[in-house]
């Protein structure tokens, strides 16, 4: 294993570390900064980020399609969207640098990442869609909850 080669570039080659150990500390710094940003945003909750960044489109089929395409910006608070994006960034660096996914073959990488990403996205989509539907039944369906 002594000849094990590590790829030492992150940010598409913008930063190149001299040794694997140095890269590990670099990634730790990155993860710490991202976590710190999350915690600060979570504590202060800036007013400007507390609502979705776009309003829904009104009108016919085109508007519906646009609402679906931009759903992340229309129906999710900007703050939550930022949290989710930062989480995925953290997950990427943990997998790529700590779990050495960067050094694996392309096929192993795809095997693991695509399978998980596809199945998890599907699961999230159906469950959240259904949850939203049930919420609308509770709200509009003459079901009394406030007692």
């Amino acid at each position: 294993m002594a000849d094990h080669a590590h790829q030492l570039e992150i940010f598409r080659g913008l930063i190149k570390f001299k040794s694997n150990t140095q890269k590990i500390w670099g990634v730790l710094l990155l993860l710490t900064i991202v976590t710190a940003v999350e915690v600060v945003l979570g504590i202060y909750k800036p007013e400007i980020l507390m609502s979705p960044s776009m309003t829904p489109f009104e009108g016919g089929l085109g508007a519906t399609l646009l609402n679906i395409i931009f759903s992340a910006f229309i129906y999710t608070k900007s703050l939550n969207l930022i949290f989710i994006v930062l989480t995925i960034i953290k997950a990427y660096y943990i997998t790529w640098d700590f779990m050495h996914m960067r050094d694996e073959t392309k096929s192993l990488r795809r095997l693991v990442v695509w399978t998980a990403v596809f199945l998890i996205s599907y699961l999230i989509f159906i469950l959240l869609q259904e949850g939203g539907y049930i919420e609308s039944v509770y709200t509009n369906g003459f079901i009394k909850r406030d007692f």
């Binding site: 294993m1 710490t32 915690v39 989480t87 192993l108 959240l128 509770y138």
Partner: protein
């Protein structure tokens, strides 16, 4: 007899065996496949949490108001601080793990031992912190009343802090006085031996109602989230009538059935998801300890490779990876 081995004629060809198209050993590849399947289990839990939260989107507890405690800083409200600390501990132990793997590649036994040791310590601190979080959550802090419909009514008062009027919760113990009651706890020695009853609640709804009447500054806060993203506070008259007509029992803390902070489902998911994750951390610590001793007695030194450390490292990083998501979806979003 020259040879008893049957030659298949495929040696050296693609299907002759011995190929490693993914350039990863069997053990490492299987660890990756296990991680994929485990990731699906965790996303099943988290997506189910999302489902329930979407279902009760306007009534869900606000995590910032639930997890405000830090050890040794009693009575202060510091949301996020302790979880951030836990997250950092886990990331740190991930770093020492990856340093152990790196030292293993260079065949430096003593470095591997020390880094593995720090990883194990980090894991133990994390599990301990999680146990403390659980204990605090189960213990509860203010107490609340559950209504007939299963909703939660919390108590509090407007207070001026730094020139700003804010709603602060008031513990039920502070304004309600437990009246004398003839009702005693049913135990199997004084009643039916095959029936058990949990401890009686410290207050009856009647006691709390009298307390509320006697303290004109105290108001009730419901589960409903208003347009400002805060829980709705009822007026004085509404508070009294709501408690009188709908109050059913006093609850303090959280368990699988009730939760003083709001929806019982919130507590259920908290226990299941962080519990399942904590169990992973615990088993990770145990596996790490086994590998740690193997390193010390020189098993991998004789084997001339430290791949076992790498495999357990993969598992350990995965545990960290899952925590990153739990942290976001339970504490932040």
């Amino acid at each position: 007899m020259n040879s008893t081995v049957v030659s298949t004629g495929t040696e050296g060809k693609t299907w002759g065996g011995g190929n490693q198209p993914l350039k990863a050993s069997y053990g490492k590849m299987m660890m990756w496949f296990f991680i994929v399947s485990d990731a699906l289990t965790f996303s099943g839990f988290l997506a189910a949490y999302g489902f329930s939260r979407f279902k009760f989107i306007d009534y869900w507890p606000i995590a910032d108001e639930v997890f405000t405690h830090v050890p040794f800083l009693h009575g202060q409200e510091l949301p996020m601080i302790y979880v951030a600390f836990m997250t950092f501990v886990l990331i740190m132990s991930s770093v020492t793990m990856v340093l152990a793997v790196d030292a293993g590649h260079q065949m430096k036994k003593n470095k591997v031992i020390w880094y593995m040791f720090f990883t194990i310590i980090g894991g133990i601190i994390f599990v301990g912190s999680q146990a403390w979080e659980w204990a605090t959550f189960i213990q509860g802090d203010y107490g609340a009343v559950q209504t007939k419909g299963g909703n939660i009514l919390q108590f509090g008062a407007y207070k001026t802090i730094d020139g700003e009027t804010v709603f602060k919760r008031v513990p039920v113990e502070e304004f309600a006085v437990a009246a004398h009651t003839e009702r005693t706890q049913h135990q199997n020695k004084n009643g039916l031996w095959f029936v058990d009853e949990g401890a009686l609640p410290a207050f009856s709804v009647e006691d709390i109602y009298h307390g509320l009447e006697a303290h004109p500054n105290i108001l009730i806060r419901t589960q409903t989230i208003n347009e400002e993203g805060e829980k709705t506070v009822l007026s004085r008259a509404e508070s009294l009538s709501q408690l009188k007509t709908n109050g059913k029992r006093y609850v303090k803390g959280a368990n699988l059935e009730v939760n003083e902070y709001g929806a019982p489902l919130f507590a259920d998911f908290f226990f299941f998801i962080t519990g399942f994750h904590g169990f992973h951390v615990l088993s990770g610590v145990v596996i790490n300890i086994i590998i740690f001793f193997n390193v010390i007695i020189g098993t991998y030194e004789r084997r001339k490779n430290y791949e076992m450390v790498e495999k357990v490292g993969l598992y350990w990083h995965f545990v960290d990876l899952v925590w990153v998501f739990v942290f976001t979806f339970f504490y932040l979003v």
